[in-house]
Symmetry: C2
Subunit: 357 residues, 2 copies
């Protein structure tokens, strides 16, 4: 029942005790190949008696060449990544599909700046695939390493390497769609709050040099391009210094709204719901009512239970995106070569937009 000494029992111990060969014992646990009822029973009894809880996963993995784990690369500190409810939604959908396989998700943190340390961290890990779902723009040193190891890679748009199978949305088209909605309400002075264009971008107005039309698949860039497709290339845009964050939204909101009324935008298009929430706080701090005095839109379509508004947003259906990602991973592990897919984003009108006064 309990381990004698230190060593765990092995399949061989079980086989010996049951009076069968190791291969037969293996068959009993894997369920492949025909085994007589009585034999199976004897083996299971021996296993129970020895406290054998099943074949050693490491040995089994080595034989199969599969570890049963996929890596999830997390850029920056965990606490930051997990503040983004959209990322969580994707992860949740992913887990939902992978649970059934079953495959575990191995979190791999990647603190900023330590470029090659992630490779050192990755090298000793046995992974069947890797998902980039909490990463920002820019190249990731992990991509080269994983490509060399032949580990299949998946992402939700960034990094944009062609060796990575993607579940993406047409960011620019989505940016156009929400901007159109704002314009159709009658807004003309409209500003944009973006996530950083580059990993190195500083908070503040977006420099034109950082907006490369070729990078339209990067969410921050694509959404800004879409916005400017509607409101013109000179429509004001500021970026946060830290991705999709509430604080970043608040800071940007103050900068845009704390100006004399004639210059003040009548609507702000933000690149995420969390940023939009921050902008709303900034507006309310300044005594502006949303949506009467100022309209605010978000992006993502996540639940913000603590926000007493329903943000007008582009619903990206994060959980569904995660599920699709999971399905792609599964199919890849089954030997197929699934191609990248594009998911639609849907305009969802909430309580934070109205015609200008």
């Amino acid at each position: 029942m309990v381990a004698r000494g230190q060593a765990r029992p092995t399949l061989r111990d079980v086989a010996v005790r049951a009076g069968v060969s190791v291969s037969t014992a293996s068959l009993v646990f894997s369920g492949k190949g025909p085994v007589a009822e009585a034999t199976g029973e004897r083996v299971r009894a021996a296993a129970a008696a020895l406290g054998f809880t099943g074949p050693n996963p490491l040995a089994s993995s080595l034989r199969h060449g599969r570890s049963g784990a996929i890596g999830v690369l997390v850029e920056g500190r965990l606490r930051m990544a997990f503040r983004d409810p959209f990322a969580i939604a994707v992860l949740d959908g992913l887990a939902e599909v992978l649970e059934a396989v079953p495959t575990g998700m191995l979190l791999i943190g990647q603190p900023r700046g330590s470029d090659d340390s992630v490779v050192l961290q990755l090298a000793p890990l046995a992974l069947d695939a890797v998902v980039f779902s909490l990463c920002g723009p820019g190249d990731n040193p992990a991509v080269e390493h994983l490509a060399a190891r032949g580990i299949p890679m998946f992402s939700t748009g960034v990094p944009g390497d062609r060796r990575i199978t993607q579940v993406r949305v047409d960011e620019r088209a989505a940016g156009v769609a929400i901007a159109e909605h704002v314009r159709s309400l009658g807004h003309q002075r409209v500003a944009h709050v973006a996530m950083p264009m580059l990993p190195t971008s500083a908070a503040g107005p977006v420099p034109d040099a950082e907006v490369q039309p070729a990078e339209a698949n990067v969410p921050s860039v694509g959404r800004l391009l879409g916005f400017r497709d509607v409101f013109g290339p000179d429509a004001p845009a500021v970026q946060t210094g830290d991705g999709s964050s509430f604080e970043g939204g608040t800071i940007a909101g103050r900068a845009l709204l704390d100006v004399p009324e004639p210059e003040r935008p009548t609507a702000i298009v933000a690149q995420s719901d969390v940023i939009a929430a921050g902008v709303i706080l900034a507006a309310e701090e300044l005594g502006l009512r949303v949506p009467e005095d100022i309209s605010v839109t978000g992006f993502d379509g996540v639940d913000l239970p603590w926000l007493p508004h329903r943000v007008t947003t582009m619903d990206q259906q994060g959980r569904e995106k995660g599920r699709i990602l999971g399905t792609l991973v599964r199919r890849r592990l089954d030997g197929e070569r699934p191609r990248s897919v594009t998911q639609p984003a849907l305009l969802r009108v909430g309580t934070t937009t109205a015609p200008p006064r």
Copy 2:
């Protein structure tokens, strides 16, 4: 440079190409044992030429008996678990320590109700240790399985099994401390909003039968006991139906505050900051100002950037707790047998408490 055909190169391929034995090649990559400079160079060159990215982790793990991954058990859907910023803080601290080893964190979801499926999910996973940090009260079927496999277990208080090494706080004492603070301000009619006493608890008033003094190590129970140590055994307490959630706090807050003024409590002691935030929303919805009309306290000491208050709370230093947890895991993997530890929780007075009017 690139894989020929499908097969990845192995250490043997590298050794052959470099004209050395496999064991010597192994020495080069592991850095153990003396290797002549020239030999090492030759092996590395051969590896580069073949596109060998390092020893196969699976084989290496089998040999070492270590997988380089620790499991993190997540009760309920991922999205729910990750809504709790305290859990995230613990995870963040844990990751900080484990990154350096390096060891990955393998998330294992455990949807409610599917009692033995977690074992099925766990069985094929190679884990060096398991951390329960996002789990609620009650027994967990995974504990038996892991104990049988001899996998070291760690937790932050629950489950309370003695085979698990714990980083806990004295929940009851902490509950007393914050209640004392509220009483010292002069409050007499004080209510409590708890997390569920049992996994099966329904939202609403806490039935006496669910409050077992023996279970004082369970956070929800211990904190309530501490609260009642100060305000008496009949002080009103309601529990949420879903752990530490904003919505749960709002619902409970409405139930407690939407009553005629003479019956209304002048302070509410909540079992988490997130719940406290929900209570504050409920209060404000009813036109009550915090802290002028009603004081609200939380628990945990997490950052809620979107909340325009600094909650008075017991700071549990989640990140530090996670770091300690990580250190315990590390020491255990180094062969020590670290004992459970108790962390202090510190009263941190914010802007949500004041004397009653």
